[in-house]
């Protein structure tokens, strides 16, 4: 990153900390200098920012992030003070801003690091989004607690995390019910069916012309309307959720797979023709490999849709288990921290699922221009 911008940024962060000493923290709170533990932490953060500003190159990342951590700690300690929580004023927000600014600079600086290779690069690839996420969660936490947002609207991430840890058995059972049973089964059937129909449509023009509009038609059925019908047909347990997932994943796969099957080049098709290759040979050796980038596109989109689909379907009738069941009931009892714990569970499961698909994509479509370097 441009060293001048970097320096300017860290100086701004230091200035914000200085302002925190001058401006009021909260209406009923003494100034920052009167908080025995907090002000030295803030001071230390300021010194680290100055150091980072002096270095203003790759090396600035470390003091910058360390300073950000200190500033974050200071602001969180302040929030434990009842006088500050819910009534924070400019002085407090200055600390938050300094933290955010230095964290952002640190992340940008880190992400711009090119020189490293191999394992270190992998670690960086993980670290950057992690730091980014931490910053977001930090901002969320201080915003909720600093402004005193009612917990029934939005809990603080720490509350949701606490709830998460205390409800692990429930979350585990919900995960099995929704993800392992409903999502996975539906995902495989839905994606498989989409691919199959795409292949048929590609192979037989007649079927293609006839099936495509019908495929469009059925996949356009809205989730909220279909879910109750599926419950009616397939019962309250996971098969009805899987059926909904089949419906939502079918179409993205169909559309993408057809686009993919048409992506094979013309000379390559001619080559297969010149070999008098059978359709199944052309399919496995040319059309499917050429379609892989598109198919993975659909697999990724479907990974998210399947999860949402299964969860939403659980709003319309379930046994007393599942992520969607829990979210809807806990929302009704205003246990929003539990709702967010379930959301976090869904997000974690979904991310892992997505990550898995991405790995598979990288392993099988390495040859695509988008991966070649």
């Amino acid at each position: 990153m441009d060293p001048r911008k970097l320096r300017l940024g860290f100086i701004a962060a230091t200035a914000a900390l200085a302002l925190a000493f001058l401006l009021p923290l909260a209406p009923q709170s003494p100034p920052l200098s009167a908080h025995p533990i907090v002000w030295p932490i803030v001071g230390a953060a300021g010194i680290l920012f100055l150091l980072a500003a002096r270095l203003s190159d790759q090396r600035a990342t470390l003091p910058g992030l360390a300073g950000a951590t200190l500033a974050a700690a200071a602001s969180l300690v302040l929030l434990d003070d009842a006088a500050v929580a819910g009534a924070a004023r400019a002085g407090f927000w200055m600390i938050v801003m300094a933290c955010w600014l230095s964290a952002a600079l640190g992340v940008v600086n880190l992400a711009g690091t090119h020189q490293v290779r191999g394992k270190l690069q992998r670690a960086l690839d993980l670290l950057v989004p992690l730091l980014f996420g931490l910053t977001v969660f930090y901002l969320w936490e201080v915003a909720v607690r600093g402004f005193g947002v009612p917990p029934v609207l939005l809990p603080s991430p720490s509350a949701a995390a606490t709830r998460f840890i205390h409800s692990l058995p429930t979350l585990g059972a919900d995960f099995v019910q929704t993800f392992v049973r409903g999502v996975l089964a539906g995902y495989f059937i839905g994606c498989g069916a989409g691919l199959l129909v795409a292949i048929l449509a590609h192979r037989y023009a007649f079927l293609g012309r006839g099936l495509l509009p019908l495929g469009n038609f059925f996949s356009a059925l809205p989730l909220v309307g279909v879910a109750p019908i599926m419950v009616m047909w397939f019962g309250f347990d996971w098969p009805s959720k899987a059926a909904v997932v089949v419906l939502v994943t079918f179409f993205p796969m169909l559309v993408n797979a057809i686009a993919g099957l048409n992506a094979a080049g013309h000379i390559e098709r001619d080559l297969m023709r010149s070999y008098g290759a059978t359709h199944s040979q052309a399919l496995t050796k040319l059309y499917l490999p050429a379609a892989l980038p598109f198919i993975f596109n659909a697999l990724k989109i479907n990974a998210t849709l399947a999860l949402i689909g299964a969860i939403v379907a659980e709003f319309f009738g379930t046994p007393t288990q599942g992520i969607g069941f829990r979210i809807s009931t806990e929302a009704g009892r205003m246990a929003i921290d539990m709702v967010w714990a379930e959301i976090a569970l869904a997000a974690l499961a979904g991310m892992a699922f997505y990550g898995f698909v991405t790995l598979a994509e990288r392993a099988t479509t390495f040859w695509h221009p988008s991966y070649r370097t």
């Binding site: 992400a111 950057v128 730091l131 007649f206 012309r209 019908l214 999860l307 939403v312 969607g324 695509h368």
Partner: protein
């Protein structure tokens, strides 16, 4: 009718079978007929025990044919017969003035407006996001995982709170619904377009490099046209998702009007056939939207020399 199908009509054909219009619509017709036939059989099979139980509860003597007839016009069937749906659909589309609350046209329009706005917002946002991701390594690394994460959050769970917050900000009516719909549909566009934007042939990218084209020129003259196949595949997926999103979003906004409201009240008041015709309306709507995108795709392809 499009100009191309008009041209098809005018071109003489050797036999009826070879007529381009026949070639185009015969398959659809065949499939639809096959589907309807299967549907009838399924309707009989699925509604059978329901209707029989009904007769038994009434304690009236009944014959097989009575049950058979019953499966064709049950009031709360497991699967309504196609003609039931068709007549309910036609009735609710044409039976009332188009803007009456009982008319499906009215509800479809309500949903359509939220869908279109949501689709527009979502597609734009998705494309912009893809652009940012393709052009900035920082954003790619830090944003992408969280964008994916955002899609794992079930909207239906957050929609109510979301509506409340937007309401507190003074946003009512169309916009909150559209934003929920956009939230759902931007993702396929973003993912598809990231792929599309990085799909150009390396040789073509290098050519642009030799001319030291600016990133913007590379975008408009190479990445954008090269991503067109990905764009249309994404848009088709996005538009159906956007419709589904708009319908989902109608529930936490009080379900006052729109296809979602119709679905809810159909279910709530046990009007099964009504519910099905609302479903059909949704499917018709999104088929039409997909067809429209397909039309634009073909026209774009023609201009871009597709063969």
């Amino acid at each position: 009718m499009t100009s191309s199908s008009l041209a098809l009509l005018l071109r003489p054909a050797r036999t009826l079978r070879d007529h381009p219009l026949v070639a185009r619509y015969a398959p659809v017709l065949t499939m639809v007929l096959a589907l309807v036939a299967i549907w009838y059989v399924a309707a009989v099979a699925m509604n059978w025990s329901l209707v029989r139980d009904g007769f038994e509860r009434e304690e009236t003597p009944y014959a097989m044919s009575d049950v058979l007839a019953g499966t064709m016009d049950a009031e709360r069937p497991l699967l309504p017969a196609p003609h039931q749906i068709a007549s309910a659909f036609l009735d609710s589309v044409f039976g009332y003035p188009p803007l009456a609350p009982r008319s499906l046209v009215y509800h479809s329009l309500v949903t359509l407006s939220a869908t279109l706005l949501g689709f527009l917002l979502g597609a734009l946002f998705g494309i912009v996001l893809a652009l940012l991701i393709v052009h900035s390594r920082v954003l790619e690394r830090s944003l992408l995982p969280w964008i994916i994460c955002s899609q794992m959050v079930p909207v239906l769970a957050l929609a109510p709170i979301f509506i409340v917050v937007l309401g507190a900000l003074g946003l009512h009516g169309l916009l909150p619904k559209s934003i929920i719909s956009a939230y759902l549909c931007f993702f396929p566009v973003a993912i598809g377009m990231v792929k599309g934007f990085i799909s150009p042939d390396p040789l073509q990218l290098e050519l642009m490099r030799t001319w030291s084209a600016t990133p913007r020129q590379v975008l408009w003259k190479l990445r954008w046209p090269a991503s067109v196949p990905y764009l249309f595949a994404s848009l088709k997926v996005a538009v159906t998702i956007s419709l589904i999103g708009a319908i989902v979003a109608e529930l936490p906004t009080g379900a006052e009007a729109g296809i979602g409201a119709r679905l809810l009240s159909g279910s709530y008041y046990g009007q099964t056939v009504q519910l099905w015709s609302a479903l059909v309306a949704a499917a018709v709507l999104s088929s039409a939207l997909i067809a429209l995108i397909g039309l634009i795709e073909r026209e774009t392809g023609r201009r871009m020399g597709a063969h």
